[in-house]
Symmetry: C2
Subunit: 81 residues, 2 copies
């Protein structure tokens, strides 16, 4: 089954990439953009078909590789199909 | 209101970053990972409070800046709060 992992910087951690996007949007004439935060999206296609076990696997992958848990948090979302 | 933008490479476009993650997961002993695709997540905090207009704004931002629509597709998701 497919799992989607969203990795974001923890609140309070400076996000220069998001800030650059916000600035660029302003330069392009987009107004009313209060804040931009940028993160990563990783889509995992796992052989495991049981949703609970697939989530366990994905969580272990996040802890070991996908997220730097000192400054980043992650969220797991099962995807259909 | 907040909008979440997910930018992914279109199907068929080579994703070396995802492939590198898949390989690294294999090296760490994770089995049963068929495929990994990596994309971007951008969280926009917009002053606009109307959901329809906020989505219109976010779509325009994607077309102009956030996504390279030749090779990338994007999805918009309203966020609570």
């Amino acid at each position: 089954m497919k799992m989607r992992v969203i990795v974001t910087l923890k609140p309070g951690v400076l996000d220069p990439q998001g800030e650059a996007v916000r600035h660029a949007l302003g330069s392009l004439g987009f107004e009313g953009v209060n804040k931009v935060r940028q993160g990563k999206m990783i889509e995992l296609d796992l052989a495991e078909t049981d949703p609970v076990r697939a989530e366990e696997q994905a969580r272990a992958m996040c802890e070991k590789l996908l997220a730097n848990t000192v400054i980043e948090s992650y969220a797991l979302e099962p995807l259909e199909g």
